[in-house]
């Protein structure tokens, strides 16, 4: 089956990096079997979802200032539909983990993630969130936020430039466009065990 290519205005498909990853993701989705006749409806819903991703205003350190800069006048992520930054996790679609996550913060971050409604996405911003960054050897830093949350997109940098943040967010849009909303494949964690 041919892989549909997520379309982003003004950037051709070939100009993106990590296309193999998307292709692999689509193959996995198809292997699990989706409801084919809902394809068109999927496309429509994903078009809407990918262009109105609402981020949670969550920042622990330096990367948070760059996140604010992306929201401000020059870089303006409203152009891509990200402008509705929510202060409550209940209303947010994605969490940008911008900054170092420490041992004390980790349970709080997990709780924020758990409070978000499905489908939800995680972007790890900056070296600290990806691997611990310059603080890898510290006694109080979580070496990579993927130890506690499933991460969708990694944006390297210390801190990443606003252009890099935008690129990462567009990568997430592409990912959202490929997903099957009706296939039940959005959940990345196991179903919580029901009490017997």
């Amino acid at each position: 089956m041919e892989i549909k290519k997520p379309h982003i205005k003004s950037i051709p498909y070939e100009d993106f990096k990590n296309n193999e990853y998307l292709e692999q993701m689509v193959q996995e989705l198809n292997a699990n079997g989706g409801k084919v006749w809902l394809g068109c409806l999927d496309d429509l819903i994903n078009w809407g979802r990918s262009n109105s991703l609402w981020p949670l205003t969550f920042a622990t350190s330096c990367c948070g200032i760059e996140f604010m800069a992306v929201g401000a006048a020059r870089y303006d992520f409203a152009r891509f539909g990200f402008e509705v930054a929510r202060a409550s996790p209940r209303q947010a679609d994605l969490i940008m983990v911008a900054g170092t996550i420490t041992h004390k913060m980790a349970p709080v971050l997990k709780r924020l993630y758990d409070q978000m409604a499905d489908p939800k996405y995680v972007i790890a911003v900056g070296g600290c969130a990806i691997s611990g960054g310059p603080f890898k050897k510290s006694y109080h830093v979580v070496n990579g936020v993927d130890r506690i949350l499933p991460v969708d997109v990694y944006i390297p940098g210390c801190p990443p430039r606003p252009e890099a943040l935008l690129y990462g967010m567009i990568q997430l849009q592409r990912k959202v466009k490929l997903e099957k909303f009706f296939g039940g494949v959005n959940r990345k964690e196991e179903e919580p065990q029901k009490a017997k």
Binding site: S61, A87, M105, Y139, H140, I148
Partner: protein, 521 residues
């Protein structure tokens, strides 16, 4: 500055009281916990006389490594309260008679005290705990009985019938991951309890296993809105210890960069304060103009927010060819823009009513807490390090130290807005006269500092940023302490907000202008 007094633990409290009352050492610049291995654990106090500018250093130590007990000085200087909690957290030093001896940064179930030299760094001792922390409403107080023995008493912070709400750590208006627990009576704040440590990265411990040039990288990440200034302080301290004189050109470049950074930080302060009070337009204005400074930084240093520019003995690269012209253009641009800011926000009736007369800090409290920077100057305390202990080329330029006497939120706001103008003035006097010379001195491949202890400070964007190094002559520091600008500011939040309305907590926090990664380090 080099006078060091050793005081035995038994006489510490009486001697400190004498220093405070008789010799007028009323400003506790910094309080540092120490681990001198065989000699035991101890504390180093940096004191300053605010009348004469005289400095002194006091040391004390306790040989008992199991239960080191040192009397508290927080009844003499209010600044000691949080700093002693930090020393308790890092070293396990128990301060007798301290009213609130809890851990400041780490979780209550943390095992061991990380800055001790014999601390076990392995994952097994302190694995990643994913359980939520239970709020505890009591605290410990160590009381000395008449026969000299010490007993632990529990003190109540919040009674059962008090109405407590929790703010943070994830709250858009706490400027980072700071957490408050606030006891309310209606809308009025009765009591406020600060919880830090959600971004504690253990930078001071990390520095002990890094060589001096490596430690530089971490300072930029302390207070990222004062990256240049922080790094300037550390470079200055290392240069002072090694006896290196940097060239005139470097001094000029560093000073100009420091001032640009200050403007950058104050513009961000303006943006965020306005946003917190609901004026979103002003946020866009502030960020629009801040980007212009970041462009100037980027051209010379390659970095926007974190520049990694100062090095030991100089700066990373020479200034970009268009630097001088761009800075001049920026100055010409910002002056009229500032007037626009005042039209948009300062004169606004809502802004005035939210800020005037709210969160008043007296001059005595500011000194006692060591709340330097804009907060101290708004209360009438002339605490500018650029004037007290000039460094760089600040002694060659003319500028006013902006002082207000009201001590309220509005004064704190105005101090910063006026300081932008003073910074522009400083840059204007320097930008045309940058002398020729080397931008980087030739240094030895391995940098060692002679044995001893060194302290130097700069005026950061939000107060005195100090670096204290104790060296044993190695290429690694034995102890490196950063006097955070933010810790004294959060420690006075309780005094500032008591009796204020809950909505004003945000405005007060905004005008005090702390940066949380700088508090937690």
């Amino acid at each position: 500055m080099n006078e060091i007094i050793d005081i035995p633990v038994e006489q510490l409290h009486a001697e400190m009281k004498k220093l405070h009352d008789e010799r007028h050492f009323d400003f506790l610049r910094s309080l540092t916990g120490m681990d001198w291995q065989e000699e035991g654990l101890g504390v180093v106090y940096h004191l300053e006389n605010t009348l004469t500018g005289e400095n002194t250093v006091v040391r004390t130590h306790s040989a008992n490594r199991e239960n080191p007990e040192i009397p508290t000085v927080c009844d003499i200087w209010k600044a000691a309260e949080f700093n002693e909690r930090e020393a308790f957290d890092f070293y396990g030093i128990r301060f007798t008679n301290h009213p609130d001896l809890r851990r400041l940064y780490l979780r209550d179930d943390w095992v061991g005290h990380p800055l001790r030299k014999d601390y076990d760094m392995s994952e097994e001792t302190n694995p990643l705990r994913m359980t939520n922390e239970e709020p505890v409403d009591t605290t410990a107080r160590l009381e000395v009985l008449r026969d000299g023995s010490v007993i632990e008493k529990r003190e109540v912070i919040f009674e059962d019938n008090e109405y407590i709400i929790n703010i943070g750590p994830q709250h858009p208006a706490t400027h980072g991951v700071l957490r408050f627990r606030v006891s309310l009576e209606g809308e009025i704040i009765q009591k406020l309890d600060v919880h830090c440590g959600y971004i504690h990265r253990g930078i001071e411990k990390m520095c002990e296993s890094l060589t001096y040039p490596q430690t530089l990288a971490l300072t930029d990440r302390l207070d990222y809105l004062g990256a240049h200034q922080n790094r300037h302080a550390l470079c200055m301290c290392i240069e002072k210890a090694m006896g290196v004189e940097v060239s005139e050109r470097v001094q000029y470049i560093r000073t100009i960069m420091d001032e640009l950074q200050r403007i950058d930080s104050h513009l961000l302060f303006f943006s965020c304060l306005c946003m917190d009070l609901g004026a979103l337009t002003a946020f866009f204005y502030g960020f629009r103009d801040r980007e212009k400074i970041l462009d100037i930084f980027e051209e010379t240093t390659g970095g926007r927010l974190i520049q990694n520019y100062n090095t030991i003995g100089g700066v990373q690269t020479d200034i970009a060819p268009s630097f001088v012209q761009k800075v001049k253009e920026f100055i010409a641009y910002l002056r009229p823009t500032l007037r626009e800011y005042h039209e948009v926000f300062t004169g606004n009736i809502i802004a005035e009513q939210r800020l005037k007369g709210v969160g008043v800090l007296s001059r005595e409290d500011a000194i006692s807490f060591g709340a330097t920077g804009g907060t101290g100057r708004a209360a009438g305390w002339a605490c500018d390090v650029r004037k007290r202990h000039p460094y760089g080329v600040y002694d060659k330029v003319e500028f006013n130290e902006v002082l207000f006497t009201e001590g309220d939120s509005y004064a704190r706001y105005m101090v910063r807005m006026k300081e932008i103008e003073e910074s522009l003035r400083i840059i204007e006097q320097l930008i045309d006269n940058i002398p020729e010379g080397e931008y980087q001195q030739k240094m030895k491949p391995i940098i060692r500092i002679p044995e001893g202890s060194y302290y130097s400070a700069v005026e950061g964007s939000r107060g005195e940023f100090g670096v204290f190094i104790e060296s044993k002559g190695d290429k690694y520091p034995y102890r490196m302490k950063f006097r955070s600008t933010g810790l004294p500011l959060v420690s006075c939040m309780e005094t500032l907000t008591r009796g204020a309305k809950i909505a004003d907590l945000i405005a007060i926090g905004g005008t005090v202008d702390y940066v949380v990664p700088d508090i937690d380090r």
